[in-house]
Symmetry: C2
Subunit: 231 residues, 2 copies
Amino acid sequence: MKKDCSDIGCHNCAMKSVPFSKLTDEQLEYADKNKTVVTYNIGETICKKGAPLTHVLFLWDGIAKVYTDLPNQKHVIMKLLKKCDMYAGPGIFADEKYHYSVTALTPVKLCMIKIEAFYEIARQNSLFTYELLSLSNHAHIRYMFHLTSLTQKNMQGRFSDMLLYLRHHIYDENPFTANTSRQDMADMTAMSKESLIRIMKEFKEEGLIEVNGDTITLLQEEKIKFISEHS
Amino acid sequence: MKKDCSDIGCHNCAMKSVPFSKLTDEQLEYADKNKTVVTYNIGETICKKGAPLTHVLFLWDGIAKVYTDLPNQKHVIMKLLKKCDMYAGPGIFADEKYHYSVTALTPVKLCMIKIEAFYEIARQNSLFTYELLSLSNHAHIRYMFHLTSLTQKNMQGRFSDMLLYLRHHIYDENPFTANTSRQDMADMTAMSKESLIRIMKEFKEEGLIEVNGDTITLLQEEKIKFISEHS
DNA sequence: ATCTTTCGTTAATATATATCAATGAATTAT
DNA sequence: ATAATTCATTGATATATATTAACGAAAGAT
C-alpha cells in the first residue's frame, strides 16, 4: 500500500509516525480535533526562527528546508523534510520557540497539531513520550554526524555527504532531481556557492557524477562514499 | 545548602536532576538498587564511542569532556560535564551505543544507573520521560548554537564563545582555572592547537583577557561578547 | 515583448587557517 | 638526578576556501 493521507482523521491516517501509532483511539480523536491542514507555495515560510512554537508539523507532501536563519544571511541547512516526516522543533518541551526556520522548496501540504494537545497526550501516555525521545535522539545522532562533517571534512567530503544524504535520505533513488538551489546546497555544506559549484564541476570532470540542471546521477557511489570517509 | 552527594541513596541525594525529582519513592528506591559509584583518574576513559551504552552517568564531582572520538585523531569536544550533570548519550532510547567518548579532565566521581532501570522507570512515569525530553531538547538547542559557532564564525568568534562557555556554563566565576589543555581548547573550537594559541595571544595583547598558565581572566567581557556576536 | 532581477557559472585574487619546523618548559619515567 | 616524553609557544610557509567581478541564462515583472 502506498503511504498517503487524505483528510479522513488521524485515526485512518496511513502516515502515522511511530509515536502516534502508540496512541489510544481516544487520544487520536483528541489529536484530530486539534489539527489543521495547510498548503504552502514554493519559497513560503512555514515556521520562522524566534517565533513562538505553536504547532507540530506532519508533512503530507513536498520538500522543505530546516535552517538556522542567521542575521548575517549565512544560513546552515540542518536537514530537509519530506513526505511523512514529523517535525517538532527543539523548542518543544523546552523554551517553546522555533529555533530553526522552515521554508517550502516545493509546494508543501501538511497538517499541524496544536502544541497544547501534544503536551496533553505526552502527559497521559508514557509510551508516546518514550517514542518522541527515541526520535529526538536519533535526530541528535544525525546532527552529530553533520557537525563532524561540517567541521572536520574538506569541501569534497562535505559535498559527498550531501550527495549521499539526498540520494538515500531524501529522494531514495539514484538519478534524483534536487529541489535545492545551488545556494541551498552551499548552505547544506557550509561553503560558498561558488566553491560548491567548483567542487561539483570537479566531481563531474572526474566522472563521479553527472549533472543536468537539477538532476544529479551518482555514477560512482562507492568512490563518493570513500571520499566521504577519508577526507 | 551546598549541593553535594554522599552515598546515602537516591532518596536523599541532594543532586537529583529534574527528571529524578519527579520519581516516586518506590522508583527512587529502584534506581538506587541499580546504581554503582565509581572514581576515575585524570585521562581515564569513562565511556568509549561505539561501545554498548549500558549506564547513565551522574557526576558527583570533577570535570569531564564529551567528544567525538574520530579515527583520524581530530576530535570535536561537544561539551564538558561538571558536578551535578546527568549524562545520557544520544544512543539512549535509540541504538544503545555511545556516540561520544567521555574522558576525565580532573579526578571524577560519579554514579552510574543501569540503562534497563532507566527504561523501566521511563515506561512507568511519563512525567519523568517528559523531563528527559525537555533536557534533551535544551541540549539540542545548545548544540545548534555550537554548530553555527563552529561553522559560521571566524577563529576569534569561536574562541570568544569558548571563553564565555567556560566562564558561565562550567566554572561560573571570572578568573577561572581551566582543566582543558590547549589541545582540548582547540578541539572545542575546531581549530588547530597552534591557531588557538595565536588567537589567545592576540586576545592577551589587546587586553581582552589575562592568562597565567591555565588561569584565565576575562578583562573585557562585553567586548568578548561583541566579538562572539559580530564575527 | 522587453526590462529587471535572480540564478548558475567561471576565473582571478585575497585571506583565513592549517601545517611544518624548531625550541624551551614542564612532566613523567628510568 | 638524568633522560625521555609531552605540552606550550613562535615564526615561516603552504593551502584550502572565500571574495570579488564578470557574464550568460533563466525566470518574473511591467
